[in-house]
Amino acid sequence: MSPTGTPGPAPEGTAHPAPAHTAPPTRALPGHGESHRHVLVAIVLNKPGVLNRVASLMRARNFNIETLAVSHTDQLEVSRMTITLRGDDVAVEQAAKQLYRLIDVLKVQDVTSDPTVEHEIALIKVRADERNRGEVLTIAEMYKARVVDLAAESLIVEATGTEAEVDALITLLRGFGIKELVRSGTVVMSRGAGSIEEAVKR
């Protein structure tokens, strides 16, 4: 067997967008741009198994969820998910479109570049005794974090803020020794009067 090149360009004399002797242009693959963090808001029906559908779809389509926060909304039959993931714009758009295919998903919105309020909560159990407790408290205060539990050898800091703010606080506290850490995952809401929930009301 011998591979025979099939001439792409047409012979001379027929109208053609490219001359026959140049190499054909390369078609760009979708979804190979610069990867960055995206925040998706999904309004879904409040039914058993919906979280499983969303998670299963993201896994099957090869998207890695960084954080996921699910809760009720003010409408009984509707839940809200905030999903953060990394990927280029086309890939994340594809993730949103795939989510739309789920029957139980009512609306998906990529709010990455919208003006939003974005928060997560973290509980951080820090090693601290009477020698350095003051330092920890000072740092916590600077980040508007609260101390919610105090013991002889440790304390728990409750911090809220954007992912980046919480990251920064954790980095600082790591020097004292973090015994335990839990983060809720980002929740987000668009600024202004617009409402994604009203947009899906029947």
């Binding site: 099939t6 001439p7 242009p25 078609r27 760009a28 979708p30 479109k97 789920l102 029957i103």
Partner: protein, 660 residues
């Protein structure tokens, strides 16, 4: 050649007689299924009249049942499903009744099932709904594929049913197949009683968890009163927008419990509102692109057939003089004898079609999804072309290939809106372009493997067999392929003229699909001849359905292309793995005697001059038949685009005989 003397469908009463008169060991009298006894006996045993809806052939009772079924299913009656009381049945309405009513309301005439523990409550009431024809398959996978073939041949929703546990898992291959090819089926399974769910009960498996990623939607129903709503939603979802499989898992207590819920007239699914109309601005842009294009090519996919847009496709092609290429599942979307029809594209597509794509300046992709078997290496795919992509599923736009003009909508409606805006092009204007493709075409059809009866050393050539079948059936038969070389030969050489006359497992590539899908297609379109073109590998995967063909007298003609090989595997081993033929040689039974043992007519052809006779003999049989074509063992499908290469890198057959 061996012919069968008995009528192939058999009523239970005649089975014993035919076993003694027919070939030894055909069917033992003891093998008659217990539920298939005479209706009178059944009635006596059960203490009340049971309706035997097994479609035995030829008996007066079977004829009466099928006449009654037709009458009951007439449009006038469809919306007046009779209640149990009107049927003269004195027992409370249970979930299983709601299932039967729902099927009838959805226009289901036939479904494919296999009973088992937890679905027995359903089978217990099924006899009270004689207008529902149940085909007892021999394996649940066969049932799912049959529902799939039925749906593709008719455009209606196919239905299959299985019990819990292994019955349900056996459906999964068929459900996945329907998912990847966008085929509307509703798969029903039973599950253990609700209180046992999650307790690892006998034959319990988390089947909704298993089918979740390979269905359009699925349901677990534990309350009989949910059944009417769930079925209405399931059928709506399966057939609306981009079609797909929907799975309903019913616990045993949902089937057995009393049901008072009425069937809803409408469905309320706020999360499911497919876009049908294309955006007018995009359509206008598309018309502009078409007007500017010098070398446009239409790429027609399965969506054209699903949307029944074949007329609009032809009108567009003719109005703007655009040649039409098909994806594998788009085969039969346009009459192949039409001067603008090119043939099918991709890994094993025609070379002239691939060349046309590679030199096009505009691709009009209709209802297709740029599968990797179509595009090959995407960076080299159609390098000069701008792309208009029409698809009903927004997720397909920009998924595999970036496109210039996306249009989300139903192909039929989009084309209807586009057609008035497309400028007419006189044939002369495109003559040079079309002539060039025609020259390529005659070149690729001049290749020595094309259309000759004997391949090398006088061995029977597979493409000749397929071509003769197409010819003999007047290019009007439904041709159902299995997967592998046989599938490519069927798509390339059978010659398709009627929409939906070609059925093939494209996305999942499911070996074993051919025979059961042909079964469903033949039941769905009894007015059309049905051929299953299968290989010896695929047929051995679902061979048990031969018995279903016989029991239900389903007139499928099976063309077995037997090369004693897993042909496509062997081809790859020859071309890609340096001739390391590991595990691709396989033995088969004596096929004619096997057919005879199952009770269907078997024929054999080993040389080109026996082909027409064998085909004619099979066509003359009133019922199913199998023709064993002993084909060349080493014939490959060419051209072939190696994996990872592009449409311009086709492997072609060497014309010279290989040196020994």
């Amino acid at each position: 050649m061996v012919t069968k003397e008995e009528g192939s469908g058999r009523s239970p009463g005649r089975t014993a007689a035919s076993a003694t008169a027919g070939a030894p060991g055909a069917v033992l009298p003891g093998a008659v299924p217990p539920g298939a006894g005479s209706p009178d006996l059944d009635g006596a045993l059960r203490g009340r009249e049971r309706i035997n809806h097994m479609p035995g052939a030829g008996t007066e009772r079977a004829d009466a049942i099928s006449a009654g079924r037709r009458e009951m299913l007439s449009d006038a009656r469809r919306n007046q499903i009779r209640s149990l009381a009107e049927r003269g049945v004195k027992r409370p309405r249970i979930g299983a009744d709601a299932v039967c009513e729902a099927l009838l309301r959805q226009g289901v005439e036939v479904f494919f099932g296999y009973p088992g523990g937890v679905v027995l409550p359903f089978y217990d009431v099924l006899g009270d709904y004689p207008e529902l024809r149940h085909v007892l398959v021999r394996h649940e996978q066969g049932g799912a594929h049959a529902a799939d073939g039925y749906a593709r041949a008719t455009g209606k929703v196919g239905v299959c049913l299985a019990t819990s546990g292994p019955g349900a898992t056996n459906l999964v291959t068929g459900i996945g197949n329907a998912m990847l090819d966008s085929v509307p089926i509703v798969a029903i399974t039973g599950n253990v009683v609700g209180s046992l769910l999650g307790k690892d009960a006998f034959q319990e498996i988390d089947i909704t968890g298993i089918t979740l990623p390979c269905t359009k939607h699925n349901y677990l129903v534990r309350d009989p009163n949910d059944i009417p709503r769930v079925f209405a939603e399931a059928f709506h979802i399966a057939r609306t927008g981009r079609p797909g499989p929907v799975h309903i898992d019913l616990t045993k207590d949902a089937l057995m419990g009393p049901c008072s819920a009425e069937h809803p007239g409408t469905v309320d699914l706020p999360g499911f509102r497919p876009t049908l109309e294309g955006h007018f601005r995009q359509i206008k842009l598309a018309a502009g692109e078409i007007a500017r294009a010098k070398r446009p090519v239409i790429l027609a996919g399965h969506g054209v057939l699903i949307a029944e847009a074949t007329e609009e496709l032809r009108e567009l092609a003719e109005k703007a003089q655009i040649p039409v290429a098909h994806t594998l599942l788009g085969v039969s979307a346009m009459d192949e004898t039409h001067p603008l029809s090119l043939g099918f594209v991709g890994m094993h597509g025609w070379k002239h079609v691939n060349r046309a794509i590679q030199s096009a300046d505009l691709l009009i992709a209709l209802g297709m999804r740029f599968d990797d078997r179509v595009t090959g290496h995407v960076p080299t795919f159609a390098p000069y072309a701008r792309i208009i992509h029409v698809d009903i599923d927004p997720a397909e736009i920009g998924k595999n290939v970036a496109v210039e003009i996306p249009i989300v909508g139903d192909v039929k409606r989009v084309l209807a809106a586009l057609l008035p805006q497309v400028q007419s092009v006189a044939p002369e204007e495109r003559a040079a372009y079309l002539k060039e493709i025609a020259d390529w075409r005659s070149e690729s059809e001049r290749a020595p493997w094309h259309g000759s009866g004997s391949w090398r050393n006088g061995q029977l050539s597979a493409d000749y067999v397929v071509g003769r079948i197409g010819e003999a059936s007047g290019h009007d038969a439904t041709i159902v392929a299995d997967v592998g070389q046989n599938q490519m030969w069927a798509a390339r050489y059978a010659g398709f003229r009627r929409p939906k006359s070609h059925i093939s497992s494209g996305g999942l590539g499911t070996m074993g699909f051919g025979l059961p899908a042909a079964m469903g297609a033949a039941i769905g379109r009894p007015d059309k001849e049905t051929w299953a073109i299968v290989g010896d590998g695929g047929l051995q995967m679902t061979i048990q359905e031969l018995m279903t063909l016989v029991q239900d007298n389903i007139p499928v003609k099976i063309a077995l292309l037997d090369n004693h090989k897993l042909g496509m595997v062997r081809q790859w081993q020859e071309l890609v793995y340096a001739g390391n033929y590991h595990s691709s040689h396989l033995l088969g039974p004596d096929w004619v005697r096997l057919a005879e043992a199952y009770g269907l007519a078997g024929f054999r052809a080993t040389t080109p001059d026996e082909v027409d006779g064998a085909i004619a003999a099979a066509r003359a049989v009133d019922g199913p038949a199998l023709v064993h074509f002993v084909i060349a063992e080493q014939q490959n499908v060419f051209p072939m685009m190696p994996a990872g290469k592009g449409l311009s890198d086709l492997l072609e057959e060497q014309f010279e005989e290989p040196k020994q």
